[in-house]
Point group: C2
Chain length 332, copies 2
């Protein structure tokens, strides 16, 4: 295993320590219990947003803590759900008296531990709602999931719901916006290579030089099928087909998000973007907003996902609203 780390058990703590140091103007890092919260939080009177899940998907979620997005994030060990206790503390740190929304990717451990935490903080008088994201069209059930997996679309839920909270929406309204984004976003990924979890010391899967995992999960979970590596345009066509047959985007304005899995050059993500935008043109779908980069990664996996979000005027306005986090920033 070739990694820029020290001792394996210290990977998450040391990475977060560096993250906190680099972005001390935006975040505070608590190591025990482990969570990240806004440096200027909690914001009194604002609905708090909390997300979390296993580490290894950076910048998700800690990179999205800050004004206009999350109030706190709870990173577990690599590819391992955080336990309820740090979720409880993060929820308290995010609570400005207007209630807290948990944004949870649909993985069985995450859902269970966020539910337990929500019950615990409810007992202390904090109102908690939860939205479970499940944007991955690849498979119905998966290695760690009943139902569809929550993947890159989660970033869009966090940004847009964060903007709703920032403009002063109440907990019901912020929850409704988050649910609306989740209902209108679809994603699918593929992998050329797998990343290596430090504790494991070797990749979860090794593919022949001419094969890819189509529909891969962000923990390297199996997708729809292993297929031969094809030209990028053909792969994008397959991905767009999977998305567009799952939900009709006909006549819509959309946000097109090409996400890198961590080990793919940015230049390749733009090659995928180019073809995906052409497919939108061919289908009469209007490209309105774009996001391209490594936002929901799987360590150093080589691969990418495409997400498509149906926009309306309100969602567009909330997407455009100012945001100031380590990984997404504009207008501030």
């Amino acid at each position: 295993m070739k990694k820029l780390i020290n001792d394996v058990p210290d990977v998450v703590a040391e990475s977060l320590a560096g993250f906190g140091r680099a972005h001390a103007d935006i975040v505070k890092v608590s190591q025990d219990p482990r969570f990240v919260s806004r440096a200027d939080g909690p914001v009194q009177g604002k609905v708090g947003l909390v997300s979390g899940g296993g580490s290894g998907h950076e910048p998700l979620h800690a990179g999205f803590v800050g004004k206009g997005m999350l109030d706190a994030a709870v990173p577990g060990e690599v590819f391992t759900s955080p336990t309820p206790m740090p979720i409880v503390e993060a929820t308290k740190a995010a609570d400005g008296g207007a209630g807290v929304l948990h944004i949870v990717k649909n993985y069985t451990g995450d859902v269970l531990n966020f539910e337990t935490a929500a019950d615990l903080v409810a007992a202390e008088g904090i109102t908690v709602r939860s939205v479970v994201t499940n944007d991955d069209v690849a498979v119905q059930d998966s290695l760690y999931t009943a139902g569809r997996r929550g993947v890159a679309g989660t970033v869009l839920v966090e940004k847009i719901a964060g903007a709703a909270a920032d403009r002063g929406d109440d907990l019901d309204a912020v929850t409704a916006v988050a649910e609306r984004v989740n209902a209108n976003v679809r994603s699918i990924g593929l992998a050329l290579t797998d990343g290596t979890v430090p504790h494991a010391g070797e990749p979860g899967f090794v593919l022949p030089e001419d094969e890819i995992e189509f529909g891969v999960g962000i923990h390297g979970e199996p997708g729809r099928e292993r297929i031969k590596l094809e030209p990028a345009d053909r792969l994008v066509d397959r991905m767009m087909d999977a998305i567009l047959t799952d939900l009709s985007f006909d006549g819509s304005q959309v946000l097109l998000f090409v996400n890198g899995m961590g080990g793919t050059p940015l230049s390749e993500l733009y090659i995928l973007f180019r073809r995906a935008a052409e497919v939108l043109d061919e289908r009469g779908i209007t490209l309105s907003r774009s996001l391209v980069g490594n936002y929901v990664t799987s360590l150093e996996m080589q691969g990418a996902s495409i997400s498509l979000l149906k926009l309306d005027d309100e969602l567009t306005q909330l997407w455009d609203a100012p945001v100031h986090t380590a990984a997404l920033r504009w207008g501030l």
Copy 2:
């Protein structure tokens, strides 16, 4: 070779086409001759900034075109200098009547071709100055370079000189700022694995599982030595030693930039940042500004570089000034 591409000869053109589509609000892409310029450019009365070089280092340089940074960028083929003709056209596209500054990484081909282009546009009445960046302390001469190589510090030169141009400095003043940044920044990199140039089809070098290239160049050029892979903290100590023995930063305020080479997880970059910041503490150097991410890459190379820039009040103010590019954005 496992890549998300179509035909090898189309890689740069297709990637730029996607880039232009994704960021149509910021840039215009010309394919023949090949250059990227500001969507709203040229800005009349403002000094124009142009950079360029081989592709494969994305987001450098096209990702830094926009308000507050570059006016145009000229991407060559992968790891190949652009020819003079597109540099000429990019320079004209950047010219708002106040002259143009070329920011050139110190590689023999880049320097030569930018010089030729400068001579050609001078003949058309455009005043051109040039700053050659050479921040890499690893080696004196290298595979493609006489003198030191220009590496990640170039981003800092582009940002800060771009802010100087944006506030209305004249060509002499912008050139002086760019030279001042270059004189005060030092960098060094290392690689665990090499990237694969599409035309070559295989990595430029393959290292044993327990070896790294210390002082590697951004084209995989040899560095100082091949050493055994060590814990990240020990590697950072070596890198910081190389930087701090080259230039005294004692008592300074600094910008610490940990740059990923393309295939390294963000979490590992923060592990490096953590230790680098500790070294600053130990040396009595004040961490004032931070940048962490994949900004000057070498395709999917696993590795990282550290850059340290000595700040003064003016450079800090220019760093903080608003910028709106595809890859760096704040305040706008």
